[in-house]
Point group: C2
Chain length 441, copies 2
């Protein structure tokens, strides 16, 4: 089981196990070396290779959590994410965990037990929203679409009209299906029926247009590990004034740092993921809550800083171009793409595994022979579809072409006759593209 278990039976040193005494002797465990990760080109649905500039930022020195420099850096990070989200929401900050932490923070803070939530499910992450809502005690109603399709506005409107939920929840991009749900006008629609609108954009942000204010989305959550170009472990979130009021309506301060006064409304069922408390921590009150992770704050700030310098619209366009080149290349190999391509996310492509090709074996060979990772799938798509990501730092011409060359070689090795060259098809797409000259060298 463990290779480093302390074996006190073989210790030759006298031990003193009283609580206030000397620590017991330690039998040296099998010494492990420094980390030495293999080189990988991560072209799956995430995580991807972090931008080297993010990796350098993450290793910056730490300060105290209320050091003036630290709180300034937190404020800068809030401002940068307003830019990425296309919002003026004051309440724009990080949840200290992976993207799923922010999803749960949103749902547990917005929905009190017994309240009705309408969830549009078009893939795995809709199912995740459903199960989190069930766990927080909501009354959950779902509308569902087959994997590989999206909802029309009228389908959503009809459900809002019938069910009158306090919250409508969905995802913009469902990484499990590669689909990109149109969101324009969705917030307005929800508000017409008295619902708040929550959307997770982890899979789609910075790879696809997202206009939080224009679309009146009330709470939007994300993660760094896809098109934002960072590692997993920090989850940006933005909260409209309308949603802030709902959350403030359940605000309870923590005993031990305040007088523990009662607060208002039904207490949020989580402390760690309580958005009212997180607003007090990130806001001018700076009420102590968790200890914000320095490295993950640094990563989040650098991801947004690089996008801000590139321009968020240009970042989206870079994903569109390179994602389209990858799709052209996959089709050039004679492979069939999965799902309604009109509504595909720019940054991830589902491709059907050809008959007779063992999908996982080929993926393993790609990793072994070329150090290239592409993705498997979940649920009904397991064994049916590979997912190829073109995201963040890897939304680059050389990453696209290398992946296609490697895939072509492995398809041949596994006995599948491709109908053409993936690399040539992608190159032709780049050549045709009017925006080709905008690409980095």
């Amino acid at each position: 089981m463990s290779t480093t278990t302390t074996d006190t039976t073989t210790s030759t040193t006298t031990t003193d196990t009283t609580a206030t005494g000397t620590a017991p002797a330690h039998t040296t465990a099998a010494g492990l070396d420094q980390l030495n990760p293999p080189t990988r080109l991560l072209m799956g649905p995430g995580p991807i290779n972090a931008d080297p500039r993010v990796t350098r930022a993450i290793a910056s020195a730490l300060t105290g959590q209320f050091d003036p420099w630290m709180t300034d850096t937190m404020n800068e990070t809030m401002a940068l994410y307003r830019s990425v989200f296309n919002t003026t929401n004051e309440q724009t900050f990080l949840v200290d965990g992976t993207s799923r932490a922010a999803i749960e923070a949103a749902l547990v803070s917005l929905v009190a037990p017994g309240q009705k939530v309408l969830i549009a499910v078009m893939g795995r992450f809709g199912l995740l929203l459903k199960e989190i809502c069930e766990r927080v005690g909501a009354t959950v109603i779902t509308i569902e679409r087959p994997w590989g399709t999206v909802f029309t506005a009228s389908e959503i409107e009809e459900a809002l009209r019938i069910h009158r939920p306090v919250l409508f929840a969905t995802v913009q991009g469902d990484t499990a299906t590669t689909m990109n749900q149109p969101l324009e006008g969705l917030g307005q629609l929800c508000h017409r029926y008295g619902a708040l609108c929550y959307v997770d954009v982890t899979a789609s942000i910075a790879g696809n247009t997202l206009l939080v204010d224009d679309w009146e989305l009330d709470v939007v959550s994300a993660g760094l590990q896809k098109c934002l170009g960072g590692p997993s472990g920090s989850a940006p979130i933005t909260i409209s004034e309308r949603a802030r009021e709902v959350i403030e309506g359940r605000r309870h301060l923590e005993a031990g740092i305040t007088d523990g006064s009662a607060g208002v409304g039904e207490r949020i069922r989580s402390n760690y993921l309580d958005l009212a408390m997180l607003m007090d921590y990130w806001g001018p009150m700076r009420l102590n809550h968790h200890t914000e992770s320095g490295p993950m704050l640094y990563a989040a700030r650098e991801c947004a800083r690089l996008i801000d310098a590139e321009g968020i619209a240009q970042t989206v366009e870079r994903h569109r171009l390179n994602g389209a080149a990858m799709a052209a290349g996959l089709q050039g190999l004679g492979l069939e793409l999965f799902g309604d391509q009109h509504y595909r996310m720019n940054n991830v492509i589902g491709v059907k595994i050809p008959d007779g090709v063992p999908g996982d074996d080929l993926r393993a060979a790609l990793l072994t022979d070329f150090a290239v990772e592409i993705g498997t799938s979940f649920g009904p798509l397991t064994g049916v579809v590979w997912r190829v990501g073109v995201m963040g730092y890897n939304a680059r011409r050389d990453a696209v072409l290398t992946t296609l060359a490697a895939l072509e070689a492995e398809l041949h090795r596994f006995g599948h006759a491709t109908t053409g060259s993936g690399v040539e098809a992608a190159m032709a797409y780049y050549d045709q593209s009017k925006t080709n000259e905008e690409q980095p060298a």
Copy 2:
């Protein structure tokens, strides 16, 4: 409010805001520079300066989350923390968040709504356990001690006998009070009365003796940002077989990656912090849950690897020696220590702010003049006590002496007449210490 808000009114580029169209033009925000944190010597109650070797490890390259190298690294990290916790518990892994995430994971997973929890409160973090238990729907009973003292075993036993909770919960070190609750025999005591025993050791681990198996502690949670020598953002946890059975009794798989079969027992109220799901993610099933943060995994592994190489008992002894030298130095300045010193944690010292000295102003001057940070306090100790930490990488002779020299200078500057030299008193302590020769150069 925001300095980087997109101002679409001044945009000169045509915008297309349809969901499937081109992203809108981006008005360049005020360009922010690279991170450039100030130099700090962090001698407060945490976070502290991460060990430089941890900082380097954290910047290692990422791989896919189910890459064989990644899962091997996760397994190595589990083994290393068994060593740090002095346990053979198979279920020893990381929660992807700060220490508070692991506290909530333990409580929400162990305690179903309506079940009775007994909490021993001796400071702020006991109050935190209480409020988290309330939020997860437990029936909460507390016993309390004044800040600066600890519980006797008989006080705990009497409460267990009267209340018969399903869970007893406390902290080993309460960083708010500097106290170190004796835990020897506590698990056995709890088990005699039919309770599981949960302890948070974030403030004390690696600075004070902790014998999870010998003391029969069922669930123990920690954080990297104190004596483990890392940054905040990853929370090691260990789970006994007895506790694992309780958690497995509430195991529900996630829809979308499985057949969504019903599961057993009352569903755990959190998805992100569901220890049954985390066990499946870290265990041989490798069921997808969150995407483990690569950098924080790397940090956690390196923290434990360095301690494993030093020997956990030697790490504790290093904290004892340098903490005692700091305490001797503070007393040498004529300052009065806070709390029952017999039960003080090795790694954090509460010191009463002298009459007439403005505590926060002096702390700010220490930061400005010497780049040294010491801590303020919470609740009843606010304005009464400073907290000085000697933790992790900073549990070193030069860090102790530098802090004392800087504090002495600032006390003089604020008009307080010290009764002697803090540096000389600490040096005398080091000289007297029989283990002096064990210190790093």
